[in-house]
């Protein structure tokens, strides 16, 4: 932006008097507070004191080298944008300076316009960086006020529906309105569906929290659960041209837990793996039964998850806000629910991912072990069979 809100300070560190003078003139004219220093030591002292938004640093100075000055400026405040100037512009020095953390490069001699351009660009970048950090903080704050946040999530579709209805009621009966009417009804229906999903997910989440759903502890075969879930998503996978594969060599993968919860858990992971995949992609569910532990991994060849989001993934309502995923519908509760289910059962869930290559969600659960009163293998086997049978009847 052309006019700085409050006078931003810019520090210039250069041993060349003429450069200091002209920088100061140009920058002051731009409305900045420009402070100049003739060597690295004084410059760094100035940076610490003045907290500038941007520093212009000459690479070749007596005393502390320009490269070191860049590094030390960022020790003081990593968000200060550093622009480097030098009389010997080579690709090598440019690359080296960028590696040290410089943002841009200004070869000597430079025109006032070149300085202006580079300073404005540097400050714009700083503004974006600061704003995006502030946005993260604010997002976190808003979500911490949980009830407020959830009610807003529920309000949003309701408001849209209300608004459509209110406009439909007030709009005169023109041809244009008639054409839109049908479309708007469809949108209203879609939005009620959205609300229902939020409420349903929300209930699941609070039920797990209330420990009601998960009190049930029966012998469950994860292989059965996974194959059943995959069968229900064959159609969705076909639509997205994603292929599904199961790699579970053992006959059964037995754990002790709540059957419905485990279905919800793997359902979430599998749906995500299909939703956030690419056309022609693949979803693989693989199982490993080890001593006392069962590990199920859901791997996709999809968009992947940038590193900075990986810790946030399991938070309620968290959704990656990139081009691709914005278009996919979801409430951001799926993984939060999954995580609670896993912890509830004393297991763990972790994610590995590479942007644009795919992700793996790995769930580890304690393997089923007969407890006292259950040693009778036949009996528990029968119980198990009958449970599975009733299920099949559903």
């Amino acid at each position: 932006m052309s006019e700085p809100a409050e006078r931003e300070t810019i520090v210039v560190i250069d041993d060349d008097y003429a450069i200091r003078l002209s920088c100061r003139k140009i920058l002051s004219k731009m409305g900045f507070r420009a402070e100049t220093f003739e060597d690295g030591a004084q410059g760094l002292e100035g940076v610490a004191r003045l907290k500038p938004g941007l520093a212009v640093v000459d690479l070749k100075m007596p005393g502390i080298s320009g490269m070191e000055v860049i590094a030390r400026v960022h020790e003081i405040d990593p968000e200060i944008v550093v622009v480097v100037i030098t009389g010997y512009p080579t690709i090598d020095t440019a690359v080296a300076a960028m590696k040290c953390g410089a943002y841009d490069f200004l070869p000597k001699p430079f025109s006032p316009d070149e300085l202006r351009l580079i300073v404005n660009r540097g400050l714009e970048r700083r503004r974006l960086a600061i704003e995006s950090r502030r946005a993260e903080v604010e997002r976190a704050l808003l979500k911490r006020r949980f009830v407020t946040f959830v009610s807003h999530q529920l309000q949003t579709p309701l408001v849209a529906i209300h608004q459509y209805l209110s406009v439909l009621k007030n709009l005169d009966d023109t041809d244009d309105a008639a054409a839109k009417r049908q479309q708007w009804f469809d949108r209203c229906l879609a939005r009620t569906g959205e609300m229902q999903t939020i409420i349903k997910d929300w209930l699941t989440l609070s039920r797990i929290e209330g420990d009601r759903l998960s009190r049930q502890r029966v012998k469950v075969d994860l292989k059965r659960i996974v194959t059943d879930i995959l069968a229900t998503y064959e159609e969705m996978a076909r639509r997205n041209t994603v292929s599904l594969e199961v790699r579970m060599p053992e006959d059964a993968y037995l754990v002790r837990g709540d059957r419905n919860c485990l279905i919800v858990l793997f359902d979430n992971l599998i749906v995500n793996a299909i939703k956030y995949n690419k056309p022609g992609g693949k979803v693989t569910v693989s199982g490993e039964a080890r001593e006392g532990e069962v590990e199920i991994s859901v791997t996709d060849t999809g968009v992947g998850i940038p590193e900075k989001y990986r810790q946030l993934l399991f938070d309620e309502f968290f959704r990656v806000e990139d081009e691709g995923s914005k278009k996919t519908a979801g409430t951001g509760l799926g993984l939060a629910i999954s995580k609670r289910i896993v912890s509830e059962m004393g297991g763990s869930i972790e994610v590995e991912s590479q942007v644009n290559a795919g992700s793996t969600f790995r769930v580890r659960l304690l393997a089923f072990r007969a407890q006292a009163g259950e040693e009778d293998n036949n009996r528990s086997a029968n119980e198990f069979t009958s449970e599975e049978d009733t299920d099949r009847g559903r």
Binding site: L158, A160, Y164, A177, R187
Partner: protein, 135 residues
């Protein structure tokens, strides 16, 4: 109509809300442009020079609307454009808490969502005129 139609910019991340409101305003004879996030709204405001801006507060899971208002007020050529802010989060602007700086307050009118369309149009008409139904 003798004078050109008044132009309104709607900034709201809910496409359906924006669609409903803009259709109604268009039927009232206004020209409407729509943006779905703050940054895009800022860009459109500079390009389209609207006579009035309708701004949602909570976008992108934060109070992006406030920051956008702040930016709008900082831009010389847009300082005087009336801004109506809207939200479904609270019913009063003061419920949003203490603003970190004055930019938060630099709007002209607050509406709780959903908005009653005739009331909205009435306020708009008071501010910038226009709004005779076409057709």
């Amino acid at each position: 109509m003798s004078s050109p139609a008044k132009k309104i910019l709607i900034v709201d991340d809910d496409h359906d809300f924006a669609e409903a409101v803009s259709s109604y305003l268009e039927a009232q004879g206004y020209v409407v442009v729509t943006a779905h996030e703050g940054r895009e709204g800022l860009k459109l405001a500079k390009m389209e020079r609207p006579d009035l801006i309708i701004m949602d507060i909570v976008m992108n899971e934060r109070t992006e609307g406030f920051f956008t208002v702040q930016e709008l007020r900082r831009t010389a050529e847009l300082k005087a454009v009336p801004i109506f802010v809207m939200s479904s989060l609270y019913s009063k602007i003061t419920d949003f808490g203490v603003p970190p700086d004055s930019g938060w307050l630099a709007h002209d009118e607050f509406f709780s969502k959903p908005v009653e369309m005739p009331a909205l149009v009435e306020k708009i008409r008071q501010r910038i005129g226009g709004g005779e139904a076409t057709a």
